[in-house]
Symmetry: C2
Subunit: 301 residues, 2 copies
Protein backbone atom coordinates (compact mmCIF):
# COMPACT_ATOMS: atom_id res chain seq x y z
CA UNK A 1 0.00 0.00 0.00
CA UNK A 2 2.94 2.32 0.81
CA UNK A 3 6.58 1.81 -0.13
CA UNK A 4 8.14 3.46 2.90
CA UNK A 5 6.38 4.71 6.01
CA UNK A 6 8.11 6.94 8.58
CA UNK A 7 6.91 6.84 12.20
CA UNK A 8 8.04 9.89 14.15
CA UNK A 9 7.67 8.84 17.79
CA UNK A 10 7.63 5.17 18.81
CA UNK A 11 5.44 5.14 21.91
CA UNK A 12 2.05 3.49 22.43
CA UNK A 13 0.50 4.81 19.22
CA UNK A 14 3.64 4.65 17.05
CA UNK A 15 4.37 1.07 18.10
CA UNK A 16 0.74 -0.02 17.67
CA UNK A 17 0.78 1.44 14.16
CA UNK A 18 4.01 -0.43 13.42
CA UNK A 19 2.51 -3.73 14.58
CA UNK A 20 -0.74 -3.08 12.70
CA UNK A 21 1.21 -2.33 9.50
CA UNK A 22 3.13 -5.60 9.89
CA UNK A 23 -0.09 -7.53 10.47
CA UNK A 24 -1.71 -6.08 7.34
CA UNK A 25 1.45 -5.99 5.17
CA UNK A 26 0.73 -2.32 4.63
CA UNK A 27 4.26 -0.96 4.25
CA UNK A 28 7.31 -2.07 2.24
CA UNK A 29 9.64 -0.57 4.85
CA UNK A 30 8.96 1.05 8.22
CA UNK A 31 11.44 3.66 9.41
CA UNK A 32 11.16 4.95 12.97
CA UNK A 33 12.50 8.00 14.78
CA UNK A 34 12.72 8.49 18.55
CA UNK A 35 14.79 10.73 20.80
CA UNK A 36 16.38 8.00 22.87
CA UNK A 37 18.53 5.09 21.72
CA UNK A 38 16.65 2.93 24.22
CA UNK A 39 13.35 3.47 22.41
CA UNK A 40 14.88 2.87 18.97
CA UNK A 41 16.51 -0.35 20.16
CA UNK A 42 13.28 -1.59 21.74
CA UNK A 43 11.44 -0.89 18.48
CA UNK A 44 14.00 -2.86 16.46
CA UNK A 45 13.97 -5.72 18.95
CA UNK A 46 10.16 -5.88 18.94
CA UNK A 47 10.35 -5.82 15.15
CA UNK A 48 7.79 -3.13 14.39
CA UNK A 49 10.35 -0.96 12.54
CA UNK A 50 13.01 -1.96 10.02
CA UNK A 51 15.36 0.93 10.67
CA UNK A 52 15.80 3.44 13.50
CA UNK A 53 16.84 7.08 13.04
CA UNK A 54 18.04 9.64 15.55
CA UNK A 55 16.29 12.53 13.87
CA UNK A 56 12.91 12.95 12.26
CA UNK A 57 14.50 14.60 9.21
CA UNK A 58 16.55 11.46 8.52
CA UNK A 59 13.53 9.21 8.94
CA UNK A 60 11.24 11.04 6.49
CA UNK A 61 13.70 11.01 3.59
CA UNK A 62 12.14 9.01 0.76
CA UNK A 63 9.00 8.14 2.77
CA UNK A 64 5.59 8.00 1.01
CA UNK A 65 3.75 8.36 4.29
CA UNK A 66 4.95 10.24 7.38
CA UNK A 67 3.05 9.83 10.66
CA UNK A 68 3.80 12.10 13.62
CA UNK A 69 3.25 10.10 16.84
CA UNK A 70 4.75 12.39 19.48
CA UNK A 71 2.96 14.68 21.99
CA UNK A 72 1.12 17.52 20.22
CA UNK A 73 3.35 20.17 21.82
CA UNK A 74 6.29 18.89 19.72
CA UNK A 75 4.56 19.14 16.33
CA UNK A 76 5.56 22.71 15.37
CA UNK A 77 9.28 22.10 15.84
CA UNK A 78 9.13 18.66 14.21
CA UNK A 79 7.29 20.02 11.16
CA UNK A 80 9.93 22.72 10.72
CA UNK A 81 12.65 20.09 11.00
CA UNK A 82 11.22 17.60 8.49
CA UNK A 83 9.90 20.10 5.91
CA UNK A 84 13.08 20.33 3.78
CA UNK A 85 13.51 16.55 3.78
CA UNK A 86 9.97 15.57 2.69
CA UNK A 87 9.67 13.77 -0.65
CA UNK A 88 7.40 15.34 -3.32
CA UNK A 89 4.00 13.63 -3.32
CA UNK A 90 4.42 12.35 0.24
CA UNK A 91 1.46 12.31 2.65
CA UNK A 92 2.06 13.81 6.10
CA UNK A 93 -0.38 12.92 8.84
CA UNK A 94 -0.43 12.73 12.65
CA UNK A 95 -2.27 11.00 15.49
CA UNK A 96 -2.53 13.95 17.88
CA UNK A 97 -5.49 14.19 20.24
CA UNK A 98 -6.20 17.83 19.29
CA UNK A 99 -6.70 18.96 15.70
CA UNK A 100 -7.01 22.77 15.49
CA UNK A 101 -3.61 23.34 17.11
CA UNK A 102 -2.03 20.67 14.96
CA UNK A 103 -3.23 22.38 11.80
CA UNK A 104 -1.98 25.71 13.18
CA UNK A 105 1.44 24.25 14.08
CA UNK A 106 2.14 21.89 11.14
CA UNK A 107 0.19 23.43 8.25
CA UNK A 108 2.45 26.40 7.49
CA UNK A 109 5.56 24.20 7.24
CA UNK A 110 4.21 21.77 4.61
CA UNK A 111 5.95 22.34 1.24
CA UNK A 112 4.02 22.55 -2.04
CA UNK A 113 3.45 19.10 -3.53
CA UNK A 114 3.29 17.40 -0.13
CA UNK A 115 -0.18 16.43 1.20
CA UNK A 116 -1.09 17.15 4.79
CA UNK A 117 -4.13 15.31 6.26
CA UNK A 118 -4.43 15.44 10.06
CA UNK A 119 -5.83 12.40 11.91
CA UNK A 120 -6.68 11.02 15.34
CA UNK A 121 -7.35 7.37 16.28
CA UNK A 122 -9.88 7.15 19.15
CA UNK A 123 -8.10 4.23 20.76
CA UNK A 124 -5.48 3.87 23.44
CA UNK A 125 -4.56 2.52 26.83
CA UNK A 126 -3.06 4.14 29.93
CA UNK A 127 0.38 2.72 29.14
CA UNK A 128 3.07 4.41 27.08
CA UNK A 129 6.38 3.74 25.36
CA UNK A 130 7.45 1.27 22.64
CA UNK A 131 6.56 -1.86 24.66
CA UNK A 132 2.95 -0.75 25.17
CA UNK A 133 1.75 -1.16 21.57
CA UNK A 134 -0.15 -4.04 19.97
CA UNK A 135 -1.52 -4.75 16.51
CA UNK A 136 -5.23 -4.83 17.36
CA UNK A 137 -5.41 -1.51 19.22
CA UNK A 138 -7.36 0.14 16.39
CA UNK A 139 -9.68 -2.77 15.54
CA UNK A 140 -13.30 -1.62 15.53
CA UNK A 141 -12.36 1.83 16.87
CA UNK A 142 -12.88 5.08 14.98
CA UNK A 143 -10.14 7.19 13.44
CA UNK A 144 -11.14 10.78 12.72
CA UNK A 145 -9.54 12.56 9.79
CA UNK A 146 -9.82 16.35 9.64
CA UNK A 147 -8.68 17.42 6.16
CA UNK A 148 -8.51 21.16 5.51
CA UNK A 149 -10.41 22.73 2.59
CA UNK A 150 -7.38 22.49 0.32
CA UNK A 151 -6.66 18.80 1.04
CA UNK A 152 -5.99 16.49 -1.90
CA UNK A 153 -8.91 14.01 -2.33
CA UNK A 154 -6.54 11.28 -3.44
CA UNK A 155 -4.37 11.67 -0.32
CA UNK A 156 -7.51 11.53 1.84
CA UNK A 157 -8.61 8.33 0.07
CA UNK A 158 -5.20 6.71 0.54
CA UNK A 159 -5.10 7.63 4.22
CA UNK A 160 -8.63 6.28 4.68
CA UNK A 161 -7.52 3.00 3.11
CA UNK A 162 -4.47 2.97 5.39
CA UNK A 163 -6.51 3.28 8.61
CA UNK A 164 -9.05 0.76 7.35
CA UNK A 165 -6.22 -1.70 6.75
CA UNK A 166 -5.06 -1.02 10.34
CA UNK A 167 -8.49 -2.21 11.55
CA UNK A 168 -10.14 1.17 12.15
CA UNK A 169 -13.36 2.73 10.94
CA UNK A 170 -12.84 6.19 9.45
CA UNK A 171 -14.88 9.36 9.99
CA UNK A 172 -14.17 12.69 8.32
CA UNK A 173 -14.86 15.69 10.50
CA UNK A 174 -14.32 19.41 10.75
CA UNK A 175 -11.28 20.07 13.02
CA UNK A 176 -13.21 22.50 15.22
CA UNK A 177 -15.98 19.94 15.74
CA UNK A 178 -13.37 17.26 16.48
CA UNK A 179 -11.91 19.36 19.27
CA UNK A 180 -15.35 19.95 20.81
CA UNK A 181 -16.42 16.28 20.58
CA UNK A 182 -13.14 15.02 22.01
CA UNK A 183 -13.23 17.60 24.80
CA UNK A 184 -16.28 15.78 26.19
CA UNK A 185 -15.53 12.17 25.19
CA UNK A 186 -11.87 12.14 26.15
CA UNK A 187 -10.26 15.30 27.52
CA UNK A 188 -12.77 16.12 30.27
CA UNK A 189 -12.90 12.46 31.44
CA UNK A 190 -9.12 12.50 31.84
CA UNK A 191 -9.20 15.85 33.63
CA UNK A 192 -11.85 14.64 36.07
CA UNK A 193 -9.95 11.42 36.68
CA UNK A 194 -6.66 13.25 37.34
CA UNK A 195 -8.51 15.61 39.65
CA UNK A 196 -10.29 13.05 41.83
CA UNK A 197 -7.14 10.98 42.22
CA UNK A 198 -5.33 14.13 43.34
CA UNK A 199 -8.13 15.03 45.76
CA UNK A 200 -8.18 11.54 47.29
CA UNK A 201 -4.44 11.50 47.81
CA UNK A 202 -4.34 14.85 49.60
CA UNK A 203 -7.06 14.53 52.23
CA UNK A 204 -6.24 14.92 55.91
CA UNK A 205 -9.33 12.99 57.13
CA UNK A 206 -8.63 9.83 55.09
CA UNK A 207 -5.13 8.38 54.65
CA UNK A 208 -3.66 7.42 51.29
CA UNK A 209 -3.34 3.83 52.46
CA UNK A 210 -7.09 3.70 53.21
CA UNK A 211 -7.81 5.07 49.74
CA UNK A 212 -5.67 2.35 48.18
CA UNK A 213 -7.05 -0.46 50.35
CA UNK A 214 -10.71 0.33 49.67
CA UNK A 215 -10.34 1.57 46.09
CA UNK A 216 -12.39 -1.32 44.67
CA UNK A 217 -15.52 0.62 45.66
CA UNK A 218 -15.18 2.60 42.43
CA UNK A 219 -12.16 4.88 42.87
CA UNK A 220 -9.71 2.49 41.19
CA UNK A 221 -11.50 2.90 37.85
CA UNK A 222 -10.42 6.55 37.72
CA UNK A 223 -6.79 5.70 38.39
CA UNK A 224 -6.57 4.07 34.98
CA UNK A 225 -7.12 7.30 33.04
CA UNK A 226 -5.08 9.18 35.67
CA UNK A 227 -2.10 6.89 34.95
CA UNK A 228 -1.83 8.16 31.37
CA UNK A 229 1.30 9.90 30.12
CA UNK A 230 1.76 13.33 31.82
CA UNK A 231 3.52 15.02 28.89
CA UNK A 232 0.92 13.92 26.36
CA UNK A 233 -1.91 15.16 28.57
CA UNK A 234 -0.28 18.44 29.54
CA UNK A 235 0.01 19.15 25.81
CA UNK A 236 -3.62 18.21 25.17
CA UNK A 237 -4.95 20.62 27.80
CA UNK A 238 -2.66 23.45 26.71
CA UNK A 239 -3.74 22.98 23.08
CA UNK A 240 -7.48 22.38 23.47
CA UNK A 241 -7.94 24.99 26.17
CA UNK A 242 -11.15 26.68 25.02
CA UNK A 243 -13.17 23.54 24.31
CA UNK A 244 -12.04 21.90 27.56
CA UNK A 245 -12.91 24.99 29.61
CA UNK A 246 -16.32 25.09 27.92
CA UNK A 247 -17.08 21.44 28.76
CA UNK A 248 -15.69 21.83 32.25
CA UNK A 249 -18.09 24.73 32.78
CA UNK A 250 -21.03 22.52 31.82
CA UNK A 251 -19.82 19.71 34.05
CA UNK A 252 -19.47 22.01 37.06
CA UNK A 253 -22.91 23.52 36.49
CA UNK A 254 -24.48 20.05 36.50
CA UNK A 255 -22.42 19.00 39.52
CA UNK A 256 -23.66 21.96 41.53
CA UNK A 257 -27.24 21.04 40.74
CA UNK A 258 -26.55 17.45 41.82
CA UNK A 259 -24.98 18.78 45.02
CA UNK A 260 -28.17 20.72 45.72
CA UNK A 261 -30.25 17.59 45.15
CA UNK A 262 -28.21 15.80 47.81
CA UNK A 263 -28.27 18.76 50.19
CA UNK A 264 -32.07 19.11 49.93
CA UNK A 265 -32.64 15.33 49.93
CA UNK A 266 -34.29 15.34 46.51
CA UNK A 267 -34.32 11.56 46.02
CA UNK A 268 -36.44 11.77 42.89
CA UNK A 269 -33.94 14.01 41.07
CA UNK A 270 -31.14 11.59 41.97
CA UNK A 271 -33.17 8.57 40.88
CA UNK A 272 -34.10 10.18 37.56
CA UNK A 273 -30.51 11.03 36.64
CA UNK A 274 -29.21 7.62 37.73
CA UNK A 275 -31.84 5.80 35.65
CA UNK A 276 -31.12 7.90 32.60
CA UNK A 277 -27.34 7.41 32.61
CA UNK A 278 -27.76 3.64 32.76
CA UNK A 279 -29.10 3.66 29.19
CA UNK A 280 -26.05 5.48 27.85
CA UNK A 281 -23.79 2.53 28.65
CA UNK A 282 -26.22 0.16 26.99
CA UNK A 283 -26.02 2.21 23.78
CA UNK A 284 -22.21 2.28 23.87
CA UNK A 285 -22.17 -1.51 24.19
CA UNK A 286 -24.66 -1.84 21.32
CA UNK A 287 -22.46 0.44 19.20
CA UNK A 288 -19.58 -2.04 19.71
CA UNK A 289 -17.45 0.47 21.61
CA UNK A 290 -17.46 -1.34 24.98
CA UNK A 291 -17.41 -4.88 26.35
CA UNK A 292 -20.78 -6.17 27.57
CA UNK A 293 -19.05 -8.07 30.40
CA UNK A 294 -19.59 -6.94 34.01
CA UNK A 295 -16.75 -4.93 35.53
CA UNK A 296 -15.05 -4.59 32.10
CA UNK A 297 -14.48 -8.38 32.27
CA UNK A 298 -11.71 -7.46 34.73
CA UNK A 299 -10.14 -10.28 36.69
CA UNK A 300 -9.51 -9.85 40.40
CA UNK A 301 -6.22 -7.99 40.92
Amino acid sequence: MFGRVALIGLGLIGSSLGHAMRRGSIAGEIVGAARTAETREAALRLGFIDRGCKTAAEAVAGADLVILCTPVGTYGALAAEIAPALAPGAIVTDVGSVKMSVIRDIGPHIPKGVHFVPGHPIAGTEQSGPEAGFAHLFDGRWTILTPTAVADPDALARLTAFWTACGAKVEVMDPERHDMVLAITSHLPHLIAYNIVGTAAHLETVTESEVIKFSAGGFRDFTRLAASDPTMWRDVFLNNREAVLEMLGRFTEDLISLQRAIRYRDGQALYDLFSYTRQVRREIIEAGQETPLADFGRHPG
Copy 2:
Protein backbone atom coordinates in the same frame (compact mmCIF):
# COMPACT_ATOMS: atom_id res chain seq x y z
CA MET B 1 -20.31 -22.84 60.17
CA PHE B 2 -23.95 -21.73 60.41
CA GLY B 3 -27.00 -23.96 60.48
CA ARG B 4 -29.41 -21.67 58.68
CA VAL B 5 -28.60 -18.37 56.98
CA ALA B 6 -31.30 -15.93 55.84
CA LEU B 7 -30.57 -13.61 52.93
CA ILE B 8 -32.97 -10.67 52.82
CA GLY B 9 -32.64 -9.35 49.26
CA LEU B 10 -31.37 -11.54 46.43
CA GLY B 11 -29.68 -9.09 44.08
CA LEU B 12 -26.02 -8.80 43.13
CA ILE B 13 -24.71 -8.98 46.69
CA GLY B 14 -27.29 -11.43 48.07
CA SER B 15 -26.77 -13.84 45.17
CA SER B 16 -22.98 -13.55 45.36
CA LEU B 17 -23.15 -14.37 49.07
CA GLY B 18 -25.34 -17.37 48.30
CA HIS B 19 -22.88 -18.68 45.71
CA ALA B 20 -19.91 -18.02 48.00
CA MET B 21 -21.62 -19.92 50.85
CA ARG B 22 -22.22 -22.87 48.53
CA ARG B 23 -18.61 -22.82 47.37
CA GLY B 24 -17.30 -22.84 50.95
CA SER B 25 -20.01 -25.11 52.45
CA ILE B 26 -20.62 -22.35 54.97
CA ALA B 27 -24.36 -22.83 55.60
CA GLY B 28 -26.51 -25.86 56.33
CA GLU B 29 -29.52 -24.19 54.71
CA ILE B 30 -29.86 -20.88 52.85
CA VAL B 31 -33.27 -19.21 53.00
CA GLY B 32 -33.89 -16.19 50.78
CA ALA B 33 -36.46 -13.40 50.76
CA ALA B 34 -37.25 -11.07 47.86
CA ARG B 35 -40.25 -8.92 46.97
CA THR B 36 -40.94 -10.42 43.58
CA ALA B 37 -41.73 -14.04 42.71
CA GLU B 38 -39.49 -13.64 39.68
CA THR B 39 -36.43 -13.00 41.85
CA ARG B 40 -37.22 -15.87 44.22
CA GLU B 41 -37.68 -18.24 41.30
CA ALA B 42 -34.43 -17.14 39.68
CA ALA B 43 -32.61 -17.71 42.98
CA LEU B 44 -34.02 -21.24 43.30
CA ARG B 45 -33.22 -22.02 39.68
CA LEU B 46 -29.65 -20.75 40.04
CA GLY B 47 -29.41 -22.84 43.21
CA PHE B 48 -27.94 -20.27 45.59
CA ILE B 49 -30.90 -20.58 48.02
CA ASP B 50 -32.71 -23.69 49.27
CA ARG B 51 -36.01 -22.02 50.01
CA GLY B 52 -37.65 -18.75 48.99
CA CYS B 53 -39.92 -16.62 51.20
CA LYS B 54 -42.25 -13.78 50.36
CA THR B 55 -41.53 -11.87 53.54
CA ALA B 56 -38.37 -11.18 55.48
CA ALA B 57 -40.10 -12.16 58.74
CA GLU B 58 -40.76 -15.66 57.38
CA ALA B 59 -37.19 -16.02 56.17
CA VAL B 60 -35.47 -15.12 59.45
CA ALA B 61 -37.41 -17.63 61.58
CA GLY B 62 -34.91 -20.10 63.01
CA ALA B 63 -31.92 -18.52 61.24
CA ASP B 64 -28.52 -18.31 63.00
CA LEU B 65 -27.32 -15.59 60.68
CA VAL B 66 -29.49 -12.93 59.00
CA ILE B 67 -27.94 -10.76 56.27
CA LEU B 68 -29.79 -7.72 54.94
CA CYS B 69 -28.92 -7.29 51.24
CA THR B 70 -31.45 -4.67 50.10
CA PRO B 71 -30.94 -0.92 49.46
CA VAL B 72 -30.08 0.92 52.70
CA GLY B 73 -33.30 2.97 52.54
CA THR B 74 -35.29 -0.20 53.26
CA TYR B 75 -33.41 -1.21 56.42
CA GLY B 76 -35.54 0.56 59.04
CA ALA B 77 -38.82 -1.00 57.89
CA LEU B 78 -37.22 -4.41 57.41
CA ALA B 79 -35.68 -4.37 60.89
CA ALA B 80 -39.06 -3.54 62.42
CA GLU B 81 -40.63 -6.37 60.44
CA ILE B 82 -38.11 -9.08 61.35
CA ALA B 83 -37.52 -8.11 65.01
CA PRO B 84 -40.31 -10.26 66.52
CA ALA B 85 -39.29 -13.28 64.42
CA LEU B 86 -35.54 -13.30 65.20
CA ALA B 87 -34.23 -16.37 67.06
CA PRO B 88 -32.42 -15.79 70.37
CA GLY B 89 -28.64 -15.83 69.85
CA ALA B 90 -28.96 -15.03 66.13
CA ILE B 91 -26.51 -12.65 64.46
CA VAL B 92 -27.99 -9.86 62.33
CA THR B 93 -25.71 -8.15 59.84
CA ASP B 94 -26.03 -6.23 56.59
CA VAL B 95 -24.01 -5.31 53.48
CA GLY B 96 -25.11 -1.69 53.14
CA SER B 97 -22.75 0.87 51.61
CA VAL B 98 -23.33 3.36 54.46
CA LYS B 99 -22.89 2.46 58.13
CA MET B 100 -23.99 5.33 60.43
CA SER B 101 -27.51 5.39 58.98
CA VAL B 102 -27.75 1.61 59.15
CA ILE B 103 -26.91 1.63 62.85
CA ARG B 104 -29.44 4.42 63.35
CA ASP B 105 -32.15 2.56 61.40
CA ILE B 106 -31.61 -1.05 62.49
CA GLY B 107 -30.06 -0.76 65.96
CA PRO B 108 -33.16 0.25 67.96
CA HIS B 109 -35.18 -2.71 66.62
CA ILE B 110 -32.75 -5.46 67.64
CA PRO B 111 -34.18 -7.50 70.55
CA LYS B 112 -32.11 -8.42 73.63
CA GLY B 113 -30.16 -11.64 73.05
CA VAL B 114 -29.74 -10.99 69.31
CA HIS B 115 -26.33 -9.71 68.10
CA PHE B 116 -26.15 -6.90 65.59
CA VAL B 117 -22.85 -6.36 63.73
CA PRO B 118 -23.04 -4.09 60.65
CA GLY B 119 -20.84 -4.89 57.63
CA HIS B 120 -19.94 -3.75 54.11
CA PRO B 121 -18.07 -5.74 51.43
CA ILE B 122 -15.99 -3.42 49.22
CA ALA B 123 -16.73 -5.41 46.08
CA GLY B 124 -19.31 -5.18 43.37
CA THR B 125 -20.06 -4.71 39.71
CA GLU B 126 -22.38 -2.36 37.84
CA GLN B 127 -24.94 -5.14 37.33
CA SER B 128 -27.81 -5.97 39.65
CA GLY B 129 -30.42 -8.63 40.33
CA PRO B 130 -30.20 -12.35 41.13
CA GLU B 131 -28.46 -13.30 37.87
CA ALA B 132 -25.59 -10.87 38.46
CA GLY B 133 -23.91 -12.66 41.37
CA PHE B 134 -20.92 -15.02 41.34
CA ALA B 135 -19.00 -16.94 44.01
CA HIS B 136 -15.64 -15.16 43.68
CA LEU B 137 -16.92 -11.57 43.96
CA PHE B 138 -15.40 -11.13 47.42
CA ASP B 139 -12.10 -12.95 46.82
CA GLY B 140 -9.18 -10.75 47.88
CA ARG B 141 -11.47 -7.75 48.53
CA TRP B 142 -11.98 -6.13 51.93
CA THR B 143 -15.11 -6.39 54.03
CA ILE B 144 -15.43 -3.71 56.67
CA LEU B 145 -17.23 -4.54 59.92
CA THR B 146 -18.36 -1.66 62.12
CA PRO B 147 -19.42 -3.16 65.47
CA THR B 148 -20.88 -0.75 68.01
CA ALA B 149 -19.38 -0.43 71.50
CA VAL B 150 -21.83 -2.98 72.93
CA ALA B 151 -21.20 -5.63 70.25
CA ASP B 152 -20.65 -9.20 71.36
CA PRO B 153 -16.99 -10.24 70.71
CA ASP B 154 -18.04 -13.78 69.90
CA ALA B 155 -20.54 -12.61 67.26
CA LEU B 156 -17.83 -10.38 65.74
CA ALA B 157 -15.44 -13.34 65.60
CA ARG B 158 -18.04 -15.58 63.95
CA LEU B 159 -18.88 -12.92 61.36
CA THR B 160 -15.18 -12.38 60.65
CA ALA B 161 -14.83 -16.13 60.06
CA PHE B 162 -17.88 -16.03 57.79
CA TRP B 163 -16.47 -13.32 55.52
CA THR B 164 -13.05 -14.94 55.47
CA ALA B 165 -14.70 -18.18 54.33
CA CYS B 166 -16.42 -16.15 51.57
CA GLY B 167 -12.95 -15.13 50.31
CA ALA B 168 -12.74 -11.65 51.84
CA LYS B 169 -10.20 -9.93 54.07
CA VAL B 170 -11.81 -8.32 57.11
CA GLU B 171 -11.14 -4.88 58.61
CA VAL B 172 -12.86 -3.55 61.73
CA MET B 173 -13.57 0.17 61.63
CA ASP B 174 -15.46 2.91 63.38
CA PRO B 175 -18.76 3.53 61.47
CA GLU B 176 -18.12 7.27 61.20
CA ARG B 177 -14.69 6.65 59.70
CA HIS B 178 -16.20 4.05 57.32
CA ASP B 179 -18.63 6.60 55.97
CA MET B 180 -15.85 9.15 55.42
CA VAL B 181 -13.49 6.66 53.74
CA LEU B 182 -16.21 5.27 51.48
CA ALA B 183 -17.38 8.76 50.57
CA ILE B 184 -14.06 9.28 48.77
CA THR B 185 -13.31 5.73 47.56
CA SER B 186 -16.80 4.87 46.33
CA HIS B 187 -19.58 7.42 46.72
CA LEU B 188 -17.89 10.46 45.16
CA PRO B 189 -16.55 8.38 42.22
CA HIS B 190 -20.09 7.22 41.48
CA LEU B 191 -21.47 10.75 41.80
CA ILE B 192 -18.84 12.14 39.43
CA ALA B 193 -19.48 9.34 36.95
CA TYR B 194 -23.26 9.87 37.02
CA ASN B 195 -22.68 13.59 36.58
CA ILE B 196 -20.35 13.49 33.58
CA VAL B 197 -22.54 10.97 31.78
CA GLY B 198 -25.50 13.30 32.36
CA THR B 199 -23.53 16.32 31.14
CA ALA B 200 -22.36 14.54 27.98
CA ALA B 201 -25.86 13.41 27.12
CA HIS B 202 -27.39 16.87 27.42
CA LEU B 203 -25.07 19.05 25.36
CA GLU B 204 -26.38 21.04 22.44
CA THR B 205 -22.98 21.37 20.72
CA VAL B 206 -22.23 17.63 20.63
CA THR B 207 -24.86 15.01 19.80
CA GLU B 208 -25.47 11.92 21.91
CA SER B 209 -24.59 9.72 18.95
CA GLU B 210 -21.17 11.40 18.68
CA VAL B 211 -20.60 10.84 22.38
CA ILE B 212 -21.40 7.13 21.97
CA LYS B 213 -19.34 6.69 18.81
CA PHE B 214 -16.19 8.27 20.20
CA SER B 215 -16.56 7.13 23.81
CA ALA B 216 -13.43 4.94 23.67
CA GLY B 217 -11.39 8.11 24.26
CA GLY B 218 -12.06 7.71 27.99
CA PHE B 219 -15.72 8.56 28.51
CA ARG B 220 -16.92 4.95 28.32
CA ASP B 221 -15.04 4.11 31.54
CA PHE B 222 -17.37 6.40 33.50
CA THR B 223 -20.47 4.78 32.07
CA ARG B 224 -19.69 1.61 34.00
CA LEU B 225 -20.17 3.22 37.42
CA ALA B 226 -23.03 5.30 36.02
CA ALA B 227 -24.84 2.08 35.03
CA SER B 228 -25.17 1.00 38.68
CA ASP B 229 -28.56 0.49 40.31
CA PRO B 230 -30.43 3.83 40.69
CA THR B 231 -32.34 2.85 43.85
CA MET B 232 -29.26 1.62 45.66
CA TRP B 233 -27.34 4.79 44.81
CA ARG B 234 -30.17 7.19 45.59
CA ASP B 235 -30.29 5.61 49.05
CA VAL B 236 -26.50 5.88 49.48
CA PHE B 237 -26.48 9.62 48.76
CA LEU B 238 -29.50 10.32 50.93
CA ASN B 239 -27.92 8.40 53.81
CA ASN B 240 -24.30 9.54 53.60
CA ARG B 241 -25.15 13.13 52.83
CA GLU B 242 -22.68 14.97 55.07
CA ALA B 243 -19.57 12.96 54.19
CA VAL B 244 -20.38 13.06 50.46
CA LEU B 245 -20.95 16.83 50.53
CA GLU B 246 -17.66 17.26 52.38
CA MET B 247 -15.70 15.24 49.78
CA LEU B 248 -17.53 16.92 46.93
CA GLY B 249 -16.44 20.28 48.33
CA ARG B 250 -12.81 19.18 48.28
CA PHE B 251 -13.13 17.81 44.77
CA THR B 252 -14.65 21.05 43.46
CA GLU B 253 -11.97 23.15 45.14
CA ASP B 254 -9.24 21.12 43.43
CA LEU B 255 -11.09 21.19 40.12
CA ILE B 256 -11.26 24.98 40.18
CA SER B 257 -7.54 25.17 40.77
CA LEU B 258 -6.97 22.80 37.83
CA GLN B 259 -9.29 24.96 35.73
CA ARG B 260 -7.13 27.99 36.56
CA ALA B 261 -3.99 26.07 35.57
CA ILE B 262 -5.52 25.42 32.15
CA ARG B 263 -6.82 28.97 31.79
CA TYR B 264 -3.42 30.49 32.62
CA ARG B 265 -1.51 27.86 30.62
CA ASP B 266 0.40 26.60 33.66
CA GLY B 267 1.88 23.48 32.03
CA GLN B 268 4.13 22.74 34.97
CA ALA B 269 1.20 22.50 37.43
CA LEU B 270 -0.60 20.13 35.06
CA TYR B 271 2.51 18.01 34.55
CA ASP B 272 3.16 17.77 38.28
CA LEU B 273 -0.36 16.59 39.11
CA PHE B 274 -0.43 14.13 36.21
CA SER B 275 2.90 12.59 37.25
CA TYR B 276 1.82 12.26 40.85
CA THR B 277 -1.50 10.52 40.14
CA ARG B 278 0.28 7.93 38.02
CA GLN B 279 1.89 6.47 41.14
CA VAL B 280 -1.43 5.99 42.91
CA ARG B 281 -2.52 3.38 40.39
CA ARG B 282 0.78 1.58 40.77
CA GLU B 283 0.20 1.31 44.52
CA ILE B 284 -3.34 0.00 44.05
CA ILE B 285 -2.02 -2.69 41.72
CA GLU B 286 0.73 -3.58 44.22
CA ALA B 287 -1.91 -3.83 46.98
CA GLY B 288 -3.69 -6.48 44.88
CA GLN B 289 -6.81 -4.34 44.41
CA GLU B 290 -6.52 -3.89 40.62
CA THR B 291 -5.41 -5.81 37.56
CA PRO B 292 -1.96 -4.89 36.22
CA LEU B 293 -3.18 -5.44 32.64
CA ALA B 294 -3.50 -2.43 30.32
CA ASP B 295 -7.04 -1.13 29.81
CA PHE B 296 -8.35 -3.35 32.66
CA GLY B 297 -7.51 -6.33 30.41
CA ARG B 298 -10.68 -5.34 28.55
CA HIS B 299 -11.31 -6.96 25.21
CA PRO B 300 -12.49 -4.87 22.25
CA GLY B 301 -16.24 -4.37 22.46
